[in-house]
């Protein structure tokens, strides 16, 4: 049997499983199997490459010890990291892995460029123009994705702060054009004396990736990660061009296209445009929003844990609104305990899940599911908004912007137009927060000053534990 045909088959299997996998990943019932199928296809394509690949002259690959060494270390470290990571840290983990993919694409370009340089003296530049274009594209996109993902990772785990300076957007745009200009110049007229400009592009792309993500607020990181994810897809596709490799090409373009759509869908869930996320970051209109809102302020009312226990235990229906505060405090298990306890007392308990509650869409579902909260108790925004009117008590656990009425009635607010959970229709609203500090959008929340709202300050986990103890002793 011709091994080359076998390799083609393994790539075909890879491509088909990627398409099937993505398709199944967009349905809750099949998602897990879809991920598994794509993983199997990837393994087939990788194994095929290692053992069956032949270059133009029919030589097999060598350096097996190096390849297997890298594969073994990568598998071990990747597996451990992915297994050990806390549920709350998933988003930053995805960002980190995405950055690895981008770096991989960038490194391929660097090595391939190194192979081209010695040929410059003898070969006509027009003969290698095609390869150069894909090498530069892979380098720029891969490096931007790598540097950007690292910054996004740092932002999500709190190591990197938002940073912007006047004219940053203009400078970024100029940098991008300069990079493309240099790349274009090299494609047309590369020779041994100007080949060093390649490394100028590399440095520029890395810097661009950093400056691109730095000014964007932490709450928008999921969108940024999704965008960088599709970037890496395109960078992988560049490798497909370079080696005329169909599985890299299909996989890369597929992720590039799906990732771009997903980015737009995520923006839509927050009712904002992608452009608005990328340039009109929350930071810009933070002060305007805060001052406009503070007029609606006034005094807040505090409530004790025992009073809260009373309110909840004698309610007919309690709706819990989880937010990032719950995730940070790792309070999902004790939250489930509270739910079971109230359930035993005949109180109906459901969860209201805002699509962008937490730091990523679906974050709360994942978190609560980890604590064994039943899937049908998690209600989406559209289902639950009608329910608030007939609900006695709403318990908000560390959510803020997703329940801010300013999104509905204050056109000056930066989050105006975002669909929210209409908790103010319930009879009583109890808000658990660590302090009066504003949420991620950096704006005040008029809900906290409404007469039917009571504040229950403290760490979500601690407060819930006390609450559970109080209700038990009732």
């Amino acid at each position: 049997m011709d091994f080359n045909n076998l390799l083609t088959l393994s790539y075909l299997i890879g491509s088909i499983t990627f398409i099937l996998g993505l398709k199944m990943l967009s349905n809750p019932a099949t998602a897990r199997k879809g991920n598994l199928i794509a993983a199997v296809g990837m393994a087939v394509a990788i194994a095929g490459t290692i053992f069956l690949y032949k270059d133009g002259e029919g030589n097999s690959l060598h350096n097996y010890p190096w390849i297997f060494g890298a594969l073994a270390i990568g598998t071990l470290v990747g597996f451990m990291a992915a297994k050990k990571v806390k549920m709350t840290a998933m988003p930053e983990m995805v960002s980190l892995f995405n950055g690895m993919g981008g770096a991989c694409a960038g490194l391929i370009s660097i090595i391939e460029f190194g192979h081209i340089v010695p040929k410059l003296a003898t070969e006509d530049s027009s003969a290698i123009a095609g390869s150069l274009i894909t090498i530069f594209l892979g380098l720029i996109i891969g490096s931007v994705s790598f540097a950007g993902s690292m910054i996004a990772w740092g932002k999500l785990n709190g190591k990197v702060k938002d940073f912007s300076f006047p004219g940053q957007q203009i400078m970024n745009t100029i940098m991008l054009f300069v990079m493309i200009g240099i790349a274009g110049y090299l494609v047309v007229g590369i020779n041994e004396s100007n080949a060093y400009l390649f490394y100028v592009i590399l440095a520029g792309a890395l810097l661009y990736g950093i400056l691109f993500v730095l000014p964007i607020g932490g709450a928008d990181m999921p969108v940024v990660i999704s965008l960088l994810n599709s970037f890496t897809g395109v960078a992988a596709a560049c490798g497909g061009f370079l080696y005329d490799n169909k599985v890299m090409l299909t996989g890369g373009i597929l992720v590039g296209a799906a990732g771009t759509l997903l980015t737009i869908l995520m923006c839509k869930a927050m009712n904002r445009s992608l452009l608005n996320v990328l340039i009109g970051s929350f930071g810009g209109n933070k002060t305007a929003g805060a001052t406009a809102e503070s007029g609606a302020g006034g005094a807040t009312k505090e409530i004790s844990v025992s009073d809260t226990a009373m309110v909840m235990a004698y309610a007919n229906r309690v709706i819990i609104v989880p937010g990032y505060g719950l995730a940070v405090a790792q309070a999902q298990h004790v939250c489930h305990e509270l739910e079971k306890l109230l359930d035993e007392k005949g109180v109906e308990v459901v969860y209201a899940i805002h699509p962008v509650a937490g730091r990523m869409p679906g974050h709360m579902n994942v978190l609560l599911a980890e604590a064994d909260v039943s899937y049908d108790k998690l209600l989406e925004m559209e289902q639950v908004n009608d329910l608030f009117k007939t609900t006695d008590a709403v318990l908000i656990l560390g959510a803020n912007d997703v329940v801010n009425p300013a999104a509905k009635n204050d056109p000056a607010s930066p989050i105006y137009g975002m669909p929210i959970l209409e908790v103010e229709h319930a009879k009583t609203v109890i808000v658990n927060k660590r302090s009066m500090k504003p949420g991620y959008a950096g704006i005040e929340n008029a809900l906290f000053f409404q007469p039917k709202t009571s504040m229950l300050f403290g760490d979500a986990k601690g407060v819930l534990q006390q609450l559970v103890a109080e209700i038990k002793s009732l």
Partner: protein, 102 residues
Amino acid sequence: MESILQFITNNQQIIYIVVLMIFLGIEVIGRVPSVLHTPLMSGANAIHGVVIIGAIIVMGKAEGENYLALILGFLAVLLGTLNVVGGFVVTDRMLEMFKKKK
């Protein structure tokens, strides 16, 4: 103009693949519920780890005495593996949480 037309003719297969894949990528995830946005992003993240194949090819072709290419290639395969393995495992862990309780 002539050279552009020639380029399209020479690479028509690849161009067809790219165009069809763009539409397919958009079509395939078009109706994803927002609950699945994060796992889907993570799954797509793992799939673009296919770039590792390029890294393996580069690594396997490197001459034994070209240490720079060997080291960079080693790094590329390593990072690509992290992307693939970590990506799929993280996605699986996220989706594990979605299973309904019996």
